[in-house]
Symmetry: C2
Subunit: 285 residues, 2 copies
């Protein structure tokens, strides 16, 4: 009887995590066994962290926080690893990340105002060992970026910035500038800035997903220039719809939290955002 019950419990939970070999204590007066099966959706995309979230904190605090949040993919920002780092400094940085079970999967956002800055960014990415760059290039540099993308075989994701900027305000804008360039040039879909520019990030992902190479997630208080970043789940962005679309278009990239509120003490907001987003990722659309 007890053996049967034990086996049943183990099987009931096997969908998510295999229980160990025993030590399952079941009180004799327990009339119900654990029938609930906790199953979590496996998604094509992964959850990551944008380095910019930690603009006021060093890489050690960044990595310690990521470790506690069980996050493993970092978008590397220059204030944590400058573009002019030596190869030794880059190796040390990567070793430190590895010690927290974190890898840098992309670099940026990096502003590029000259061909020399484009060159520097591509060499930097190569030395860091990633094949993706988030960039904000002057528009007239796009043909030059196109050349470098072909040469390096990198993905180049233009970061869209919302209504505060003159170009690259939203996904449609980046699409317009890049659709006739090499297909490896596209966008980092920042859902917050897209939304602040009056767009629906979910619809934009649906339309432009072939050119979405990275995503920044955050919530916003308004679909306008007046909107400010807030904790995921407290704003107006429809995250269930976004996740449904990511699944539908089979988005295989990263969703990196770029939390821009509470700059001096963002930790509670970061963790609540990650928890909220994880729950939506874990459940079926």
């Amino acid at each position: 009887m007890k053996q049967t019950r034990r086996l049943f419990i183990r099987e009931g939970l096997a969908g998510a995590i295999l229980l160990g070999t025993g030590n399952l204590v079941v009180a004799d007066d327990v009339s119900e066994t654990v029938k609930a099966k906790v199953t979590r959706v496996v998604n094509p995309f992964h959850l990551g962290m944008a380095g910019f979230t930690f603009s006021r904190f060093d890489i050690d605090i960044t990595l310690k926080t990521m470790q506690r949040l069980d996050l493993h993919y970092l978008s590397v920002k220059d204030f944590h690893l400058p573009l002019n780092s030596t190869d030794k400094q880059i190796e040390d940085f990567k070793d430190k990340c590895a010690s927290y079970n974190v890898i840098g999967y992309i670099v940026g956002p990096i502003n590029m105002h000259s061909e020399a800055e484009v060159d520097e960014a591509f060499e930097y990415a190569k030395r860091v060992g990633v094949k993706k760059i988030i960039g904000v290039p002057d528009v007239e540099l796009l043909p030059y970026v196109d050349k470098r993308v072909k040469e390096y075989d990198f993905n180049y994701a233009i970061h869209l910035h919302g209504p505060d900027k003159n170009v690259y305000k939203d996904a449609a804008s980046v699409w317009k500038f890049t659709k006739d360039l090499d297909p490896r040039i596209g966008m980092c879909l920042d859902v917050g800035h897209d939304f602040r520019n009056g767009c629906d990030p979910s619809l934009d992902l649906q339309k432009y997903h072939t050119r979405v190479f990275d995503m920044h997630i955050k919530d916003e208080t308004e679909a306008s220039r007046m909107g400010v970043c807030t904790i995921i789940g407290r704003g107006l962005i429809n995250f269930p719809a976004l996740i449904r679309t990511m699944r539908k278009v089979n988005y295989t990239g990263m969703c990196s939290l770029e939390y821009e509120a509470d700059k001096k003490d963002p930790f509670l907001g970061i963790a609540e955002s990650i928890g909220y987003f994880k729950a939506l990722c874990d459940t079926p659309s």
Copy 2:
């Protein structure tokens, strides 16, 4: 044209939060308006905080954290407000809570080993101004508790403790002890301890909901005595099923986070747990 669009956006979001009177800036080159409607489920239950989560922290840190997490209901523990507090101290405590937009909705858990301790607890609850007590009474005191419940017209929720204790291990056990007593005596369904005793909290809520007056939420690593508290969403408890059941039985009480991990620095785990649970609460079952 612009007017129409503005109106459309406002209506599109009206389900969740009414936008203000304007300042909605839509860039001229935006081809898509915000069609996504963020709707959040309205639940019969509310999310709260168990004071025990902050056993190493004072009431100020507790309330500041609750404020940042947008939580407003506190289960008051004696280490924040001792049972022998003066009326003045109780008033000051409540004023402080109010300044953070928090109210104490219940007191406890309080161990009760004598009739005098039962009396003290009931008087304390009355002075605090709540009509619910979480208690852990010696079994032989139950008839006395029953008498006091009738006299005060309070709900008395026995906190279940899992396999580490001799009595009140799980919901079935509390049910067994209380089913023939006054219907105002029942349980605080601690989903973690219930699960650690090999039970399914969701099934137990379904079975015993008429006697569930409060709930403690947390996740657990194993359905056994070996299980330890973990961040909600990382353990084995099926929270989507639990929330489905809370809606089904129309549970109108509180779900208070009783986070027992990382005692010295629980804040990230608390926030991630709250975010995870909120997301499940916001979405349909």
